[in-house]
Amino acid sequence: MKQITLLILLIISVLMGKSQSNNLPPVDKSPMDMCYYPNNYPVLKIQDKATEPAVARVIYSRPQKNGRLIFGDLVEYGKVWRLGANEATEIEFFRSVKIGDKKVEKGRYTLYAIPAEDTWTIILNKDNDTWGAFKYDEQKDVLRTSVPVQKLTEGVEALAMTFEKSDSGCNLIIAWDNIKASLPINLK
């Protein structure tokens, strides 16, 4: 039954990819998405349930696993990875925060990672509005920090990012395939 569901989804995605037949942009194969901290901030806001202002948001595109081996293969260890697809992934802080021991000023940054088997190096870079990591310029790094990764028991088909609350602020969770990384963001 599971296989059939997968097949149906596959076919739907093929059909979706075909549907816009003019010279304006089709829907991306790796759709863009956005996440806020606090999570679902825009929804909380219209429900008058937001108890604090928006702190951060990430805009990223979501490649699918599509049966491929991701880490150590499609995404090579030791090389800069764009943490997404298409337009470079961006993180915006609406106030200054601390990552590791470093203060990060309010503003918009491009987010990259260098994955290795046990840890990822997360990079904040100030060269915004670019595409992927193809012209990544280390000179424009704002910070690099190393975070541990965790194996997941349940696979994640589409690259996913979300925030979770922590004692010192929040963590940006990045999950794809069988790997989850967590970037601590200090809001104290």
Binding site: I8, I11, S21, L24, P25, D33, P42, K135
Partner: protein, 208 residues
Amino acid sequence: MIKLASIFVICCIFFISCTDRNENNSDQTKKKSDTTIVHAPSANPYAAIDLSPMDMSYFPVNYSQKKMTHDITTPPVMRVIYSRPHRQGRTIFGNLLKYGERWRLGANEASEIEFFQNVTIQDKKVNAGRYIIYCTPFQDKWTIILNNDLYTWGLKIDSTKDLMQFDIPVKKTSVDFEYFTMVFQPITNGAELVMAWDDTEGRLPINF
């Protein structure tokens, strides 16, 4: 079970080839039957894929690719971030979107336009910055509104934070748009923000 699956695949391949043929035909045979009804994308334990995916358009067009290939070194002029609902066989204007009622020009999060420099729209100066953009559609014109209520959800934009509004004509398109589409196209002294869905489009000229 596998047999059942193969039959389904064959049916689908047949369906795909049929839609292909329709697309190649002239406008006469262009039906809204190309629409696919999608109920729910695959599950994801952290963040489900949106039914109406988000997208981003820059001006200059494809700015980030051009920056990557070094074909452009100046900063971008503007960008829009919006979600792309799809028609799914529905009649959009005057039906799903009622004339005279507010339309969020997207889905999910309110659509956002950012000007990286000051621009002029219909002889009014618009300061560099980030705005929510939405629309009130009428049969013969759209009113496009820039609003200050950032980081909100499209269904409940606070109109007390409206900053400016602009009336633009609408026209029928020669092709149908399954997915709502926003894109910039260059004009003399600026660019137009093209907003197209179903068989209708509006164009907001932006000068800089």
